[in-house]
């Protein structure tokens, strides 16, 4: 699905990471962890084509990301649902409109019942007509997850999806992501929340990768 082959990325002359290899196989569940500033968000951005690798090759669904034109990147992003750390909502649209945005830009209609099912799944039916600034951190994170899955993507990338929520809410979000994985979706979660990883391991088979000192490696058995 998404493959990184000997990838390096530099920013402002400084190398963030190098010789990085990663394969997200269909239906797999990965965690990406590491200290703050290690490059977790950058790695995710490479995975959905927002950044281009300095060297090496990133393949999105078998295609070299560097060779994709802007329309090609847009098409790939429709197959990848992304939960951003800061949610990235449009404040002038209601919650329901924000969640439906991927369908809107793809020129697809939203069946009312499907939207209600999705809102019910993330527990946001009551808030559907509210605007993003009116929502709590947990509600925003769940809405971001709903928007990420509305196109029924093959891959879900989540960047610190539990970063702004309490333990109870983080468990709820995790269970939603595990549920998606059981439906066959490939999941990659970037987080520094060790308790979240441990909780996931008890529910699903996961692979934990650690990004540290410019290298990506499998985390130890303690995780």
């Amino acid at each position: 699905m998404i493959e990184l082959d000997n990838v390096a990325y530099s920013y402002g002359g400084a190398e963030l990471f190098s010789a990085l290899n990663l394969q997200l196989a269909p239906g797999s569940f990965h965690f990406l962890t590491g200290p703050s500033g290690a490059g977790k968000t950058t790695l995710l951005k490479l995975c959905y084509g927002e950044l281009v690798a300095t060297s090496g090759q990133v393949r999105l669904f078998g295609q070299d990301a560097r060779a994709l034109n802007r329309d090609g990147v847009a098409q790939s992003r429709r197959r990848i649902g992304v939960v951003h750390q800061d949610c990235q909502f449009l404040d002038h649209l209601t919650l329901a409109e924000n969640i439906a945005l991927p369908l809107t830009v793809a020129g697809k209609g939203t069946a009312g019942s499907d939207m209600m099912d999705l809102l019910g799944w993330v527990g946001l039916k009551r808030q559907m007509d509210q605007f993003p600034p009116q929502l709590s951190g947990g509600e925003r994170q769940r809405a971001a997850l709903a928007r990420a899955v509305i196109m029924s993507p093959e891959v879900i990338l989540a960047d610190e999806p539990t970063g702004n929520v309490d333990w109870e809410m983080s468990q709820r979000l995790l269970s939603l992501l595990v549920e998606l994985n059981k439906m066959g979706k490939t999941v990659l979660i970037a987080t520094h929340d060790i308790s979240l990883i441990r909780a996931a391991k008890s529910q699903v088979s996961t692979r934990v990768l650690r990004l540290q000192d410019r290298r990506l490696q499998l985390a130890g058995a303690d995780l």
């Binding site: 802007r70 847009a74 992003r77 990235q88 449009l90 649209l93 945005l101 809107t104 830009v105």
Partner: protein, 300 residues
């Protein structure tokens, strides 16, 4: 044709896309105002162009058919030379009519300078003969040669000397009107491009989010293009309406007189202003599309 189809498809619109891109008040007002002002000016440029075109055609047609023969001779020979000249003129192919002006007509010609009570008959002024050519026209060089031989005091003035500069001046004015319209279209395009760029910059975050969820550049561009095209259409429609009303309220032909006679539209030419809002929308469509696609490319 494809452009027109795209334009109509665009005007039909996508309400969802419109919702996604929030309107920016400043650029909306700028587009409406500039399109309105430019359309108002375009109406006058169009009226000027059409009126001078008519003027050039009329002068050209009228003056090409008439000429004047001036006979300067002593009073006792004046009648004889006039008769001789008329004989020559009547036998010249291409002349439909030749008529000596009466004393009253000559007095009327001199009235602006000497007043209406000038005793023409007592003054040694030349006799004028008005010549009207038929559609084929006559050979002025040949006629001059014959007159020189048979009527020594006759001077033929076929108006070429002053007709040509007048017609050229009218043609230049027509060109000036046309150039004005091109400049107005260019200025409109420049202003709408600036407004579109400002709107795109103001919505950089919206564009980023739309891209993150898989929006193609053309989809994002379309939302901006539709908005600016409709604004330009509306602004230009209002400007055209006001400009046309202003033309209607211009002094009437009789009251204005002189050069300004007939500045405005005549007959079916009143339909021409209807093209201005459509052209303004077309200019806005092309300008915004180019600006949007260029900016989106730069932002990627």
């Amino acid at each position: 044709m494809e452009l027109i189809n795209r334009l109509f498809g665009l005007l039909a619109g996508d309400p969802q896309a419109d919702r996604a891109v929030p309107p920016t008040g400043f650029t909306a007002r700028l587009t409406l105002l500039s399109a309105g002002a430019m359309a108002f000016l375009a109406v006058f440029a169009l009226a000027l162009s059409l009126a001078t075109g008519r003027l050039a055609d009329r002068w050209s047609a009228e003056l090409a058919k008439t000429s004047t023969l001036r006979i300067s001779a002593p009073q006792d020979q004046m009648d004889a030379q006039t008769r001789a000249a008329l004989t020559v003129l009547q036998s010249t192919p291409g002349i439909a009519q030749a008529r000596p002006l009466s004393d009253d007509e000559q007095r009327a010609l001199l009235a602006p300078w000497f007043g209406s009570d000038l005793p023409v008959e007592t003054l040694p002024i030349p006799q004028l003969i008005e010549i009207v050519a038929d559609d084929t026209g006559y050979d002025a060089t040949g006629l001059r040669a014959r007159l020189q031989a048979e009527v020594p005091g006759a001077v033929l003035d076929d108006h070429t000397r002053w007709r040509e500069p007048l017609v050229e001046a009218a043609s230049r004015l027509r060109l000036l009107g046309f150039v004005s319209m091109v400049l107005i279209a260019g200025a409109t395009a420049a202003m709408i491009t600036l407004a579109a760029n400002a709107a795109l910059s103001a919505n950089a975050q919206v564009i980023r989010v739309m891209r993150l969820v898989g929006a193609r550049d053309i989809y994002i561009a379309r939302a901006f293009v539709r908005r600016f095209t409709l604004r330009a259409l509306l602004g230009a429609a209002v400007g055209t309406l006001l400009g046309t009303l202003a033309i209607l309220l211009l002094p009437s032909t009789d009251a204005a007189g002189g050069f300004l006679t007939g500045l405005g539209f005549q007959g079916w030419h009143w339909l021409w202003p209807l093209a201005i809002p459509v052209l303004a929308a077309l200019v806005a469509f092309v300008a915004t599309r180019q600006a949007a696609l260029r900016t989106l490319k730069e932002q990627s």
